[in-house]
């Protein structure tokens, strides 16, 4: 049984249908990626799985349990956490306060201190900036903080929406290493990315979205080898 199963999702956004019959699954322990051109419905898919958008029809199963009707905050309690596009850190809270908010859900409050140590170990830079307002961090540091904040909720499924956007190439490499590292610790990852080369390299399963429909699915390496698909859908 897959960790996350999305079945024939139809989502309307501002009165326009954004997703058409989208179905996909995420196996436990893998890195799964959604790719596609701009406005192909990747972020809409992520926001719907996280619970920010309500689907017109279709269902979302997490660990075999339907979560379609749950609110976003209840899904965090279940272990689904989305690190949103554009980082969305709380700029006037300190780095530490941002992380504490990450483990707000009841399930995680008791382990807050251990989670903090874990995240600081993963991102030593955040520990150095502990008491600094998060808005004063650099772009790369803010992305680390956003991911660290997501990890504070001890997610089973960590969703990353465009984590590398706006980051310097050196930092992007670092980021992808980190994602693989987090995944190797047992956190399943579902990500949306612009950086196709790197994403196809690390993802076990890739779904290609086009105008709100899934048009191709396959293993990352497969897609990387298949020139037709790369040309037709990914512009590579």
């Amino acid at each position: 049984m897959a960790l996350l199963e999305v079945k024939s999702l139809n989502v309307c956004y501002n009165g326009i249908q954004a997703l058409w019959d989208v179905s996909f699954s995420v196996e436990a322990g893998t890195i799964t990626a959604l790719v596609g051109s701009n406005s192909s419905g990747k972020s809409t898919t992520m926001n719907t799985v996280a619970g920010l958008l309500k689907p017109a029809s279709g269902s979302i199963l997490f660990q075999g349990e339907a979560v379609t009707t749950l609110n976003a905050y209840q899904r965090v309690e279940k272990g689904i956490c989305l690190v949103p596009e554009g980082r969305r850190i709380f700029p006037h809270l300190t780095v530490k306060e941002n992380l504490e908010i990450g483990s707000y859900v009841r399930r995680c409050r008791k382990h807050m201190r251990y989670s903090l140590e874990w995240v600081y170990e993963l991102f030593p830079r955040l520990k150095e900036r502990n008491n600094q307002a998060a808005g004063t961090l650099s772009g790369g540091e803010q992305q680390m903080l956003a991911i660290g904040r997501g990890l504070m909720s001890e997610p089973t499924l960590l969703m990353l929406d465009e984590p590398s956007i706006g980051l310097a190439p050196v930092i992007v490499n670092l980021l992808f290493d980190l994602i693989v590292g987090i995944n190797s610790k047992g956190v399943t990852i579902l990500m949306v990315e612009q950086n196709l080369q790197k994403t196809l390299e690390i993802a076990q399963k890739v779904y290609v979205l086009e105008t709100g429909k899934i048009v191709v699915e396959g293993r990352g390496e497969e897609l990387l080898c298949c020139d037709d698909i790369k040309k037709a859908y990914l512009g590579m």
Binding site: L52, N71, P84, R88, F90
Partner: protein, 291 residues
């Protein structure tokens, strides 16, 4: 020298009440982006409740303070569930929500004023409680004002610590900064709204009790306090809860010194002048946006 000390003390005492009022107004504005124009009427209800309990049941205002705090908080929660929860569910956009909520708050203020007139009449009222004069380092001040100041400061500090140090307080500040994202952090944003309503209403009620100990009050006393709360909120930065605490004391001091130098009749002129200056030169408040 004594005169100066007296003016400063009067300013601080007024400032404590201003801070309390503005803090509540700013909390609802910050978390929900809604402006409670019925805030002054909550103060008026607090004052009448204290008057009523003191004159009829001989309950000390110190005790009715607790009752009013709890009652106001419950009233806030009631109002939230009856009026704002349905509105939140139905509103398509924040603009619609803000416009409709303004109507609701206006209606609330009118209804509350008329209830007060209906039950208690439109006369000015007051009562005497702890009106003994104390000499504080040579400066004469009535005991009730001093008590009101102490309670105001303690409550302001308590609120500040709650918002700065506790996890719920951090969640409140997070909601002020980015509501949508808070949902992704597992925060039940509706619960934060309810807490804001409860604290805000309780603070207004308590401020009413404190004022009633040494001021005259009537069913129409609310509006000037709503306006003062607006000015303090603008001064300290909208959504900046800590800022409105400090700004409350600043406004209290400035208007106290200002009226001493000119005339008591100019009090509201001075407040509005400060308001205009802040909007002109520091539209984001004197403390900016650090919350």
């Amino acid at each position: 020298m004594d005169a100066i000390a007296q003016v400063v003390l009067a300013g601080l005492i007024m400032g404590g009440v201003y801070a309390l009022i503005a803090l509540g107004l700013n909390l609802i504005y910050g978390t929900m982006r809604l402006l409670n124009v019925a805030h002054g009427e909550l103060i008026m209800f607090g004052a009448f409740a204290a008057y009523w309990m003191y004159t009829i049941n001989q309950l000390s205002p110190l005790f009715s303070l607790l009752l009013v705090a709890v009652g106001s908080a419950l009233f806030g929660i009631f109002i939230f569930f009856c009026l704002f929860n349905p509105l939140l569910k139905r509103s398509q956009s924040q603009d619609m929500m803000a416009a409709n909520s303004l109507l609701i708050f206006f209606a609330l203020s009118i209804i509350m004023q008329n209830i007060a007139v209906f039950f208690w009449g439109a006369n000015l009222r007051s009562y005497t409680y702890m009106s003994k004069v104390i000499h504080l380092a040579g400066v004469p001040v009535t005991a009730n004002r001093l008590l009101s100041f102490a309670i105001g400061v303690v409550l302001c500090l308590g609120c500040y610590l709650l918002i700065q140090k506790t996890l719920v307080g951090k969640a409140i500040r997070a909601v002020i900064q980015d509501r949508e994202c808070c949902k992704l952090m597992g925060i039940n944003v509706n619960k934060i709204y309810i807490i804001s309503f409860a604290i805000s209403f309780a603070m207004a009620g308590v401020a009413g009790v404190l004022l009633s100990m040494y001021y005259v009050f009537s069913p129409f006393m609310g509006l000037p306090y709503t306006v003062i709360a607006f000015i303090v909120v603008i001064l300290g930065g909208m959504g900046n809860v800590g800022g409105s605490l400090l700004a409350g004391f600043i406004l209290g001091l400035v208007s106290s010194v200002g009226t001493a130098l000119t005339s008591p009749g100019l009090e509201s002129v001075i407040s509005y002048l400060i308001f205009i200056l802040v909007v002109l030169f520091k539209p984001k408040g004197i403390f900016g946006k650090g919350f």
